[in-house]
Amino acid sequence: MLAPTAGPWRSATVREVAHPHPNGVVLRLEVPERVDHLPGQHYAVRLTAEDGYTATRSYSLASAPSDPLVELYVEELPEGEVSPYLTQAIRPGDQLEVRGPIGGWFVWDANGTALGLAGGSGVVPLVSMLRHAADVGRPELLRLAVAARTLDRLPYADELTAAGALVALSREDGPAGRTAGRLLAAELAPLLDDAATCFVCGSAPFAAGASDLLVGLGVDVSRVRVERFGASG
């Protein structure tokens, strides 16, 4: 599977802005001459100051390829340079410079069974996978396990819960009556089933812990694809 690659910078128009969480924003963009992405890919967003200074960061897409708009979820990092502007200042009708789609490894085209394992805002690329699986009528190909401290730190919590994702909250009891606590290997084992590929996305510590869980369950590392993000926002 050859993933589409980034074209030139394009001036997108912000069509919808939603704040489902105090520290996060959903931006839905109309991208001219858009190249459709594969679930799991990301876009770069570039902000330019009046004097020409620029700052660029990457954000995962939550939308399915079939969506007429491109949906980004941006979590505000307290010391961030770009994310606070995106979460606080962007309004519908604004123009935003974007480039994408980017990344050809952490992608899933509903071309085999998969397990998605994400922490916090790492769920965003899995949401794109989830929506795409529904679009192509193959929801059974994808199993999801997502983790966060509390439900209000989990983007797309309702959508993920409705899709049957295992939701593991470490600091409060979960929606399906799960007792607060870290995600356990015993919970993950039944989801593994025959998943051809495991997609792990989250902070560096989350990705390390989740990878260890999978390897501990006997998953060969060649089946695990990892996307980590650090505090670089």
Binding site: A6, T48, Y53, E81, Y85, W105, S211, V221, V226, R228
Partner: protein, 200 residues
């Protein structure tokens, strides 16, 4: 296209920051596409093969017996962070290539990691004091997350070229895409020319 009200969180401007990059300060973000391996240095080896007169394999101890050299300076990640004043120690790739003696046909290098990760480099970009195989950072053993116990270091190119957990350099007479290059990233990756993606 200026973004109304956007100022940015700027550090003092510096001439050694390539276009589109920002100074990450003391942080060192971890970006890895695979499960971080646990490597026993005593079982790890470094090989130079392909178009060479004398294919060579070094053990951990063999490599440490070679003269250690240091790199001090910046590193640049394609995700737009740059980190300044880094200090890595290891062995110059020049020494390894000199021992293996690339043939006249060799033009490119494919670096391979224990994980199967690969990345391609023109031979001229890993010779002449531009590339190292390193095992320490700031005087401490390189941590697993950052490629420990040993990684390639090619600091004048974007950092995905500096393959973590490197185990082999293969000399080729053509350019052969590595892991990220197959996935849309640039063949050379010169930060000063902003060669992030294929076509840049």
């Amino acid at each position: 296209m200026a973004q109304f009200g956007f100022v940015g969180r700027r550090r003092p401007p510096r001439d050694d920051l390539p276009p589109g990059q920002y100074d990450v300060g003391a942080d060192w973000p971890v970006l890895t596409a695979e499960v971080t391996p646990r490597i026993d240095p005593q079982r790890w080896t470094m090989t130079v093969d392909g178009l060479v007169e004398h294919p060579q394999t070094w053990s951990w101890d063999d490599l440490h017996a070679l003269p250690e050299t240091e790199y001090r300076g910046p590193i640049h990640c394609v995700t737009t962070w740059s980190k300044f004043d880094t200090r890595f120690a290891g062995v110059s790739v020049d020494l390894l290539l000199d021992a293996a003696a690339p043939t006249a046909e060799a033009t490119h290098v494919l670096a391979t990691s224990t994980t199967g990760y690969t990345t391609n480099l023109p031979l001229e970009h890993v010779r002449g004091g531009q590339a190292w195989v390193v095992w320490s950072f700031d005087g401490q053993p390189l941590t697993r997350d950052h490629g420990g116990p040993v990684r390639l270091l090619v600091p004048h190119l974007y950092f995905w070229k500096s393959a973590k957990w490197v185990t082999k350099l293969t000399l080729l007479d053509h350019d052969q895409h590595g892991f990220w290059e197959r996935n849309g990233y640039h063949d050379l990756g010169d930060p000063w020319r902003e060669q992030r993606y294929q076509g840049d």
